[in-house]
């Protein structure tokens, strides 16, 4: 299996990047049936949010898509090639970048060194590893913090280091699990902006798991998982979609313009009966 994205993008741009069929995940104790027959196709370059209540299967799906785990039933294809146990490490190293809610930086290494960690699997030349990591740190605006340890960085800076680490191998698929979950709103906005910008530059595909519907509303597609089932799949601006902008998504309302905003008690369009318990309302953004 080809382990890089770029070659395939140019040669065969048509197949979706991810094609998941009938995914079931039953954990070994047999009591948790985390995913039940989930089908998901993600075109190349799409930016997708997975939302849903806790325990709905979001992270499980992300882990399966990220080759961190294998489904009990069903298949996943990345670039038309099935994921199987023999190639998961190489795929993760070269084609997938992970961003975690808790950053998961190595505490004894500097920012620059943390970014180099994934390169140990793909690049033997130490100087090239350093150069590439430095370049990524520059792109996330942390060139001047290269020698700082994670403990000396703010939460926002740590997540930006984690972004650089996720992107350093030029993956075609970026998976982010609650990437702004530990950040204040200003840092969340900054991190998301950088993430979106870098993903767009690279024509990579982005899949984000989030509880935050305001964040989800930034993406062109929102998939909702509940009790292990895919219960809603909405794409912004798609003509045949019943949700041109995910307006009817639980907890999201149209504000009169093209923007989607989060409903809240102060918002006259708020309908508590449609707002799920997992959706934690934030103050609505002011219309432009």
């Amino acid at each position: 299996m080809n382990e890089t994205c770029d070659d395939d993008r140019d040669v065969n741009p048509s197949p979706p990047l991810i094609r998941a069929r009938g995914l079931d995940k039953l954990y070994p104790d047999g009591r948790v049936h985390a995913l039940k027959g989930v089908d998901l196709t993600v075109p190349r370059g799409q930016r997708l949010a997975i939302v849903g209540p806790s325990g709905g299967g979001k992270s499980t799906l992300l882990n399966l898509l990220g080759a961190l785990d294998s489904p009990t039933r069903g298949t996943i294809e990345l670039d038309g090639q099935p994921l199987d146990a023999t190639n998961l490490d190489a795929i993760r190293a070269r084609r997938i970048g992970f961003v975690f809610q808790s950053f998961h930086l190595l505490p004894t290494l500097t920012a620059l060194e943390n970014v180099q960690i994934p390169l140990f699997e793909t690049l033997n030349d130490r100087r090239r590893r350093v150069a590439k990591a430095r370049d990524l740190l520059e792109q996330v605006g942390l060139a001047d913090r290269a020698n700082a340890l994670p403990g000396q960085l703010s939460s926002g800076e740590r997540q930006r280091v984690a972004l650089a680490r996720a992107l350093v191998n030029d993956p075609c698929l970026i998976l982010a699990d609650e990437p702004t979950g530990n950040l204040d709103s200003a840092n969340a906005e900054l991190v998301l902006s950088i993430l979106e910008s870098l993903v767009r530059e690279r024509r990579a595909t982005l899949v984000v798991v989030t509880h935050d519907l305001e964040i989800a509303a930034r993406f062109e597609r929102i998939v909702t998982l509940r009790d292990g089932r895919l219960v809603a799949d909405q794409t912004r601006g798609q003509s045949d979609s019943p949700f041109p902008c995910p307006l009817s998504h639980p907890g999201l309302v149209r504000d009169g313009s093209d923007d989607c905003i989060l409903s809240s008690p102060s918002n006259p369009t708020h309908d508590p009966s449609r707002s799920p318990a997992w959706a934690t309302p934030r103050p609505p953004r002011q219309p432009a």
Binding site: G66, F100, L106, T122, R165, N169
Partner: protein
Amino acid sequence: MSWWRLIWSNIRRRPTRSLLTAAGIAASVGAVVALSGITDSFRRNFLDLYQSRGIDLVVVRAGTSANPGAKIDAGLGERIAALPDVRAVAPGLVDVVSFEREGLIGVPIQGWPVGSFLFDELKFVAGRPFVSGEDTPDTRKVILGAILARNLSKTVGDTLEIQLEPFEIVGIYESGNIFENGSAVVPIEALRDLMQIDDQVTDFQVMLAQDRRDEAHVKQVRDAIESLRDAEGRRLGLAALPTRDYVNGFAQLKIAEGMCLATLTVALFVGTMGMLNTMLMSVFERTREFGVLRALGWRPGRIAWLVVTEAVTLALLGAILGILGAWVLVVVLSGLPGINGFLTADLSPRIMLQGVVLALIAALLGGLHPARRAARLSPIEAIRHE
């Protein structure tokens, strides 16, 4: 960032634990290296005692190698000297005495024939060697090795009491061999008097003709000596041993080697258990970190290699500390009166390498299981680990 920077950052994460682990390895390596070094020093110095004089064979009573209590008839020396290819024969008689007032136990007293080629290797720093016809057994003369003279605080003209008999010190010598520097030499007849034995010796030291020292000739001479018979045609029961075989057969060396082996076994066990404990704790504490590395694409083999190289680095650090410690110990011991006549302050590269190999084996035995555990962690479960 180099691989070693990564390793070093992990070792420095828990500096006290890392230092204690390295100290455990250092203690194990140090004990083995020091003991092996001392044993090796004994062996080398004994061997040098003979080889520096060009001794090819040592003749002793068969089956009693290196037992100074076993004696052979001194008259056999002439028969051995008469054998083809034999250039010179020197009878040797050794006893061991103590100078308790000075705290010196087990000092060798050698009895040499006056005028023997054995004196040729001695360099007199004070006084003179024995003189034929002048220094008879009745006159009770002794010469001292430089280390022994220093330990006893004696000089030429002083009197030394050996087994309650007063001996006049007529010379102080230096030899290339530390045993001789720590021993005393008296005329062989005087030592026989002291030991109250008849015309007997402990061994004969045999030097072959210069062009007859190859293996084939040595074997011929050995066979000839061991075939010597008495007047009734019975074999005399002599063993003619090449110097290396003779020295390696020393009971003291065998005991020391046994102690080395026992120490090595204990050290390996202790080192391995210490390393195993440290690396298991380290892997447990860093479970989530390994999960993240796996998520970032690190192969299980690379994770295992990370853990093993950390263990090896710690072990090498311990080995260096242990070897340094052993060296300091040997230097200190070799300066102590009573020991300075036996022990030279050096460690051979072979012994140091033995310490490094011990540390590496402990690292591998103690590191492989934790490495395997780390490599087999499920990325998902590891990341969720609290």
